[in-house]
């Protein structure tokens, strides 16, 4: 299981990569994709919509279930990764490369963990 040190993680298993002080990319962690299993559909959010830290931003569907993706930050969706429309499996094969949405004008953060704490948290979850 891979937990890149340069990322921050939410307890809902999203990762956050800060691009500057108020802009970030968001995706789901390696742990999340492994728990969900093969992803078959990503219901992307809409650029321009507001997201709130800790609330549902979009959802992903695996053969097992549909699961909400919580936004780890509050702000506005600047861009979504449209490549996931045709290739949801990128979330499985490259969870840290396959970002889901980009948030700008960030005003608030959910409680975020560093890689080490998040790794420990995923072990507790089991």
């Amino acid at each position: 299981m891979n937990f890149p040190a340069e990322l921050k993680y939410s307890r809902d298993h999203e990762w956050v990569k800060m691009l500057d002080d108020t802009t970030a990319l968001v995706g789901i962690s390696d742990f999340a994709q492994s728990e969900l299993g093969d992803l078959v559909y990503v219901n992307l959010p809409v650029a321009g919509d507001d997201v709130v830290a800790g609330e549902t931003a979009c959802d992903v569907e695996s053969v097992k279930a549909v699961s909400d993706v919580m936004s780890p930050v509050s702000g506005r969706i600047a861009e979504v990764n449209e490549a996931l429309d045709d290739a949801p499996e990128l979330l499985n094969s490259d969870p840290y490369g396959a970002w889901i949405f980009k948030v700008e004008d960030i005003t608030d953060f959910a409680e975020l963990l560093d890689a080490e704490d998040y790794e420990a948290f995923t072990k507790e979850e089991h």
Partner: protein, 476 residues
């Protein structure tokens, strides 16, 4: 296996349809290409359907413990009554005075089910469970709107709910508020208290819930919602566990749907038809879909409630499903209904007790009509998942339990044996489950590739979901 279109040959035909007894009519718009109709003889058609039957597993083939679905055996007498020509040859538009028997059947069933539900009025219009939910939540909406209380925009749904609950609330224009379950699988009272307010339209709840537990706080739960001005909706998906024993109306619910095709004797799983009877307390009756069947001095007729939400389906619902339910209720009687529920609970507890030495149960203590096992430990120790075990069961001619539901339990297998299975069969099944458990340690590879004896082997579910092929393409 070949599709029906790939069988037979030009010129093969059969004579199952009666001769046309209405004059032919020339349509103004005509097809430019011929219809793709199969060319098969009666013989070929019969063999085709028999071949299809060999590829499936139904409740007439063997054990079918699909948790939350109540795949119980349905007595054949129910089918027999529903196929009486007096019922099947009715036309929905014929005058009421010529359909008194059918109206009386609906009237009696409404009264009987109203008693089981603890509700004052029942409609049979909704075609199935989710349709019943939609109707029930529209009643809640009509009630608030009628009072001018338009600030109520939210429906509370626990995280263990069936996916149809939040979907229903959203379809009715409500915002869904999800609340977490407590460690016993029930509603977290503090989370509920924090969630209710002047914007609460209502709560949707299944009790017993989707982990097979009866919520001991149910009276407090419905009181919290009522005190906030909201109404309580009972999802009758799990009514089989409590029918004739405790009534949703007495738990504090204001309206309910019941899947007649689960609890009251209609085989299901093939896409219908079902029936999602909806019951409500007297104060909601005026919003019910019309028409309702009423009796006036020995005659049966229709009434359109004063502030009805309108029709939710053409005519009177799936009528023959109601005939099966009426036959079921009448043959079991008051004692039989509660005995069926108690046996459903007893069977689930018996299987759980037999299995818990090997399998981890998601929750401690006795269950209701179903129980949830978590195979997380087995998965970690052997790499064999709940899916692999479920596929392994197919090789023993068993339908697997519900998998990966409810979502709050990891590697879940949810078993609902139903009241119609014997101790001998359950002993045999528990033996097979334990054998599969041991196999996970001794021969995990065989389970990863299971099933081995079925007409089709392990299906590519990922491929099917990512690239679904939904239509047959004819050669040009």
């Amino acid at each position: 296996m070949k599709l029906i279109f790939e069988q037979g040959a030009e010129g093969h035909c059969l004579h199952l349809l009666p001769a046309c007894d209405v004059p032919e009519y020339q349509l103004s718009a005509e097809r430019t290409a011929p219809l793709h109709l199969p060319h098969v003889s009666e013989n070929e058609l019969t063999r085709h359907y028999t071949a299809l039957c060999r590829q499936i597993h139904g409740v007439n083939d063997g054990f079918y413990p699909l948790g939350s679905c109540t795949m119980k055996y349905n007595p054949k007498i129910d089918e027999e009554m529903a196929s009486l020509p007096g019922f099947t040859k009715l036309h929905p538009l014929q005058p009421e005075e010529t359909a008194q028997g059918a109206l009386e059947a609906l009237h009696i069933l409404g009264t009987e089910l109203g008693e089981v539900f603890g509700m004052d009025a029942v409609t049979f219009q909704p075609a199935a469970g989710a349709h019943g939910e939609f109707t029930g939540v529209l009643l809640i909406k009509a009630y608030h709107t009628d009072r001018g209380d338009t600030a109520r925009t939210k429906i509370i749904v626990p995280d263990s709910a069936h996916g149809t609950n939040p979907a229903t609330a959203a379809m009715c224009g409500y915002q869904v508020v999800n609340i977490a379950s407590n460690d016993k699988g029930g509603v977290d009272l503090d989370a509920l208290r924090a969630a209710v307010g002047p914007d609460t339209a209502g709560l949707m709840l299944t009790n017993p819930n989707t982990v097979g537990l009866f919520d001991p706080n149910i009276l407090e739960i419905t009181k919290i919602v009522h005190n906030a001005g909201g109404l309580c909706y009972y999802d009758g998906a799990n009514l089989n566990a409590v029918m004739g024993v405790v009534r949703p109306g007495d738990m504090g619910f204001d309206c309910i749907h019941s899947n007649l095709h689960k609890t009251f004797a209609t085989p299901h799983g093939g896409g219908g038809p079902g029936a999602g009877a909806v019951g409500c307390k007297a104060f909601l009756r005026k919003y019910m879909p019309g028409p309702l069947v009423v009796e006036q001095s020995g005659k049966f007729g229709f009434e359109y409630p004063e502030k009805s939400i309108g029709r939710v389906k053409l005519f009177y619902g799936n009528f023959t499903v109601c005939v099966k339910a009426l036959t079921y209720v009448c043959t079991l009687g008051k004692e039989g209904i509660s005995e069926a529920a108690k046996n459903a609970v007893l069977n689930a507890n018996y299987m759980m007790a037999c299995l818990k030495e090997k399998f981890d149960m998601a929750y401690d203590g006795p269950c209701m009509h179903e129980f949830v096992m978590s195979l997380t430990r087995l998965h970690h120790e052997t790499g064999v998942s709940a899916l692999d075990i479920a596929k392994g069961m197919l090789d023993f001619d068993l339908h697997p339990p519900t998998m990966y539901f409810p979502l709050i339990v990891h590697e879940a297998l949810m078993v609902e044996p139903c009241e119609t299975e014997s101790k001998q069969l359950m002993d045999e099944v528990c033996g097979i489950y334990c054998r599969l458990y041991d196999m996970a340690y001794t021969d995990p590879g065989a389970l990863h590739t299971a099933p081995h004896t079925t007409p089709v082997r392990r299906l590519d579910e990922v491929g099917a979901a990512r690239n679904p092929v939904l239509r047959y393409r004819f050669e040009a």
